[in-house]
Subunit: 441 residues, 4 copies
């Protein structure tokens, strides 16, 4: 992924150095397991471990491994040769009975689990920001919209609570997805354990917090990876949803919220209102990119027979890319929501722009409750509503001046129907559902 | 979906009649909840329930509802009018404070849950067949292949156990997906509960085995549906994988298994070997169709503000289609695997076609263990292996005639290395992992 | 496709009756070509043609063909049997040397060409509407927006001209796509012409306005169909783009245009402003559905060896569906644009809402041209612009009262800079580019 | 894209240096056009051009531009500042009346056109190889397969001719796609030409072989780019198809062709037959990756109003990636096909493995032509065919020994029916169609 959309921690997970480090640990763990089962001389394996620890970062020499690979044309053999160069003959106890796939697939599992942990932390940070801002605006009135058209009032906190609940679901999905891919395969050619004891696989799995793959066929089955990628694709769509909301709110005509601008930051011209929601637009595009991995990941599942290598190029490219992008996008979204500038006055102005029409349904109910047949009530409301809309007059004023209305509902009682709190009376209930009872205080 | 790929039970779930039935039950459940809360006259609601039960299927009159809708241009109003026509004035207690979305989204949740239950039953049937056939062929030797090239022996039962494990994971994914979409929203316009008590939603949810949606915004959020569709897309890819395996096995040159042919069924010509794997090819295409829903489902997530209706057409078309296809495909796969004709003799013939080369790695290990340096051992093995392959001779015979080999390994000991059971010694272990210890008997 | 999103003409193209009609014509054309080449008795083929014409619609009896297929389990054989039942023994001259694929693939080509012609007519109708409305609003001023933020003025006609140009490109793409799939294959098993003369293929192709497929392998290669579907996917995205524009314009806060409402049509409540852009939202969803076919169509290309049948289910389902949807969506878009209600006053009001700020760039240029360094000019403009925006005052008034400004630009000259026509002076140029010189009158 | 799948020439097109070079040329071309129109002092612009040429590569200093951008936070302004630093005050004539989008979109068009030209050269090289190998194997007999099952004979040259025809179509598609994106937009904010003369756009377009975008809206419309990406996606699927063919042919049981192996190259074990089709498997994965760009490219079309920036991140990442991958994949495919090892003897062996059954259809026709009713002829053929298949006997021998057969067809006449040339008699015809009459010599 290009640096512009990358953060170092996620990049490091997929860096060659991290791969070599995991390779070394997996190979050592396998050898130690064999030693524990009496299948290798325990002292030599212990000595190898000591040498490895002594060598430290000298073993993580990607340049030297690449150099050897240029000769052997095989990355795993190059790595083992490199270890032998530094640690000596005891390195021959590594990789016994294993195939390259055992090493590669288990390492990928560990990398994906590391990446998932990072994304879970990203989600935690986002959730924390959404929670804080939701409570900050729990009572900030704003118009609810369906189809882009004003409907009835909600609060801005409710919008954020909905986003919180969505990303909280995404957190659960990501945890499930992490469990999907956190398996270990050390089962040898075509997964038959012909040359390796299944207990070695169990021991290595335990060492890395993985579950042994019940039946691998040289490779860990790719339905696991497809499910993992699919979970990220859903997260990407949620990112797009919240970004789209901000893009709408920042429109010139809406103006209810705005991405943070640095004091000295200029818009694209001399126009001070020209502050563009470039972060949320960027997040929209990043969501498209992240989602794009879902189709090749699904196409990767149907490997031929016990395994083919068609999945490999997709995973080399699309997996790191989508994870780096997801990490970047979640962090950008978090920062954007953290510093989002909210304009409650503009929200109020927008609520007022329909001159009270958003209460018309409640007036209708009140007239009906007074005994007026619904059709007649509808006519009374609509004729005033139409005038209010077309002439820009207050619906309340018009109703109070309409004798047919006041014959049913005293003019003095009408203002009570134009009451925002009627629409927000269950905000606490919803907050308690989303954030838990305790947190609603 | 076209009848060719449809089964009646799944079609029925998405039939207009089922929708009307669920609508009626949801509306009644809401009214009864309100009555229970003292918000509606309990006797009138009870009387309405009685009338509904008396009317029975007369209420499920899609033609009449369509007729009314042609006038009202609103499906929910048409339905309520129809109920009023039959059940009388008490029908006015239905739909109070609710929006159409409350009804539509909760109904969709119930339909999707019903569909998921049907697919879970489909998966159970498939798993049962895969288990039975796996045990039947637990010890049927066959060549394991990587890259389409012969590698080392496995058993046909192991292939089926891998498929079982994959569909067992799919079962778990589908149960998770079912939980994703089994939520209830009865929260009124923009989800604010302004005109309806949240306890009504809770009661309706309980009635249908759903969970109340913590924060709906007139609609149930569509990340839930995207996650549901994504789970089906993974299942489709697993269907494609098993279908692809069968297509490979049925190739003329492989011939290890074959889709069942009716006694009188003809191939496409006079050639008796011309039996085409048309079911598995068809399943491959169906998998592509099912998967195709995942992109629009992800695009559906980012609704504008509290809701827009752009998701609706996708859901009307793609959801029933993909579920009907998944049901059909799982049933077809189950039947195909149930009756799959397996040819163990051909499997043995294919094992033999490399003249024992598949044991060359084990000979290499034996020579190395005898103290010969690996490079020298490799040369000894390879020169015999090359001759075996190129001249079609038995590798065992060649090795027994090679004095440099027999100097290390007595000719009489060599046959023991050409031992299939070496490769199958852990089949029971793997079966116990997949099917549980008990079932391995 | 469900009737809700279907129009009869496109549905008819993919109806079984149309398929049988094409089958009959292709088979007859092949027999007549063979007769012309002296490979069949000309008189008998002529007699067969006469009998077919006499039988007329009796031959298009899908029920009878289905009945026979239930026995023969082969659709083409069932059809040929049916023709023989009605036309007698001369029907034996049909299908000689042909495979089912010859008939099916050539028929699909004809159906897709018919469908493309229908869509081309749909596009023509849309283009006509867009042209008319573009000229109607050639000079209707409206704000141009980048990032959803007011930028500089354009005209509403320019927006429509851009849409016209885009759909005109789509017309070209569709014509290219039509040419892609309009090929004929009558080449027998594995496409070798072993049992059929290549000249027969040429004759049939000519009869139906098709091109002979240069090298078919029993099937017409599926890269053609993938390219066809991809063209439709691009069209779908263009539909989404225009629909998205309308959804934005109809927002309560924007209100510049609105989908047509029937006189008696009600919004969802008593609020007269609650008119939802449901057509354009629906088109957004339909675009997602149409696009969804592109992935399976691409996956269909890599058939195994000379052919497999995995593509068939995708084509049976997704091809008619996407074409029916595209036809419906284009017609709906055309009708929507035809009757779109445009509000020029609201456009003017929105232009005014930034108090003249949209001319600030031009003031800046004028100050710079007067010799003031750009940075100083910027400071002058910005301090007035900020006040205009924050206090809601007219930028022109403020500038005229700013002595540092008027020292450079006489107050009397300033109004000339606040001139919309500066921004619209090239509208005619652009219209001439899009619609041609002549049409610009 | 990772270096593993990158070739330098395509990488260079999307390198920052190439971008700066194009920026400089576009800006200069615009200034020169303005000078030509008398809108800028011609001598100063000429002097600027001279300074630019004198500065040469010093102007392409990405590090310095990045340094300035870190301050200005705007890439285009940073670049212009850098030019001014080196070339002095006359650089102020650059970018007049232009927006960043004018520069960025026109530059992207030029880069995409360069990339398309490179891919066209790649396709030419591939076509040349396919043509050569097709003629080399024009008469190499091999079995044609439908559904993976032996059907009737073709030649290996025919398979390659089909691939040639498919990539020739892809060449046409790519040329069309190149024309789609080769447009120039120099139209200023929201595309209104308020501050720039349309003739400047025309002049710049002409300079770079582009067409002026008829109506841009600050950006070049993204349906063009979607169509471009879709064409590449189809090419990717064709790559997958040919790669899949090779993977099949290299299977152990088929063995008809094989990717080239270096003399010293080892398979994964001591087994000499273990040569894996890793190139074609890799190409299969690369095809999935390339295709994955089609969905985000389609989602990029529906920009909001005149423009938003959501498309940008997709284009920064996915466009270079897919083009680098396509270049790499085409080159790999070309090299693989160039050096493909073909085994005509194995093809013959596979032809023989059905004991003459592939001629059974022709025997059937001969019996029918002799006057025997088709059903009786079928019984005669099938009973011999079944025995041949099940007992591994020669169908010809069996037929010659069957008196009911020889009563109709003299035993001496039967061998003539088992004639491969019957199936290959139109190979020249097909080659002439694909490669032209002349080349068939």
């Amino acid at each position: 992924m290009i640096p512009r959309y990358s953060r170092p921690e996620m990049v490091a997970i997929f860096a060659p150095e991290n791969k070599l480090r995991i390779w070394l640990e997996v190979e050592l763990a396998a050898a130690e397991a064999m030693a524990g089962l009496g299948q290798l001389p325990a002292d030599e394996v212990a000595s190898l471990r000591a040498k490895v620890e002594q060598a430290g970062e000298r073993l993580i020499d990607t340049a030297r491994v690449d150099e050897i690979e240029a000769v052997t044309r095989h990355d795993v053999i190059a790595f083992l040769t490199h270890v032998e160069e530094i640690c000596g003959a005891e390195a021959r106890h590594l990789h016994l009975g294993m195939t390259s796939s055992d090493l590669l697939d288990t390492t990928l599992a560990i990398q994906l689990a590391q990446a998932a942990d990072l994304l879970l932390a990203d989600l935690d940070a986002l959730l924390e920001v959404l929670r804080r801002r939701a409570f900050e605006h729990k009572d900030t009135l704003t118009i609810g919209r369906s189809h882009g058209i004003h409907a009835e009032p909600v609060t801005f906190g409710l919008k954020l609570a909905a986003a919180y609940a969505e990303f909280d679901r995404n957190r659960t999905r990501l945890r499930t997805a992490r469990a999907e891919i956190a398996t270990c395969a050390i089962s040898g050619a075509v997964g038959s354990f012909a040359n390796i004891d299944p207990r070695v696989e169990e021991a290595v799995a335990a060492r890395f917090g993985l579950v042994p793959e019940p039946v691998s066929t040289q490779v860990i089955p790719r339905d696991r990876h497809a499910a993992f990628v699919a979970a990220l694709a859903v997260i990407a769509s949620s990112i797009e949803r919240l970004a789209t909301e901000i893009r709408h709110l920042q429109r010139t005509e809406v103006g209810e919220a705005e991405e943070f601008f640095h004091a000295g930051q200029k818009g694209s011209s001399a126009m001070p209102h020209k502050r563009n929601p470039v972060l949320s637009e960027n997040l929209t595009g990043l969501a498209r990119l992240i989602r794009a991995a879902v189709v090749p990941a699904l196409e990767n599942v149907a490997l031929w027979h016990e395994r083919d290598i068609s999945h490999s190029s997709v995973e080399r490219v699309a997996f790191p890319d989508m994870l780096v992008l997801a990490d970047f996008a979640l962090a950008r979204l978090t920062s954007m929501m953290d510093r989002l500038v909210v304009y409650p006055e503009r929200m109020q102005r927008n609520l007022d722009m329909t001159h009270g029409l958003l209460f018309s349904q409640r007036v209708l109910i009140a007239l009906t409750s007074s005994g007026l047949p619904r059709q007649q009530a509808y006519v009374l409301v609509q004729r005033n509503a139409m005038r209010a809309w077309e002439e820009g007059l207050s619906l309340l004023d018009l109703l109070q001046a309409d004798e047919e209305v006041t014959a049913r509902l005293p003019a003095a009682d009408l203002p009570a129907l134009f009451d925002m709190s009627y629409h927000t009376k269950h905000v606490d209930t919803i907050f308690a559902r989303v954030f838990g009872e305790a947190s609603a205080d």
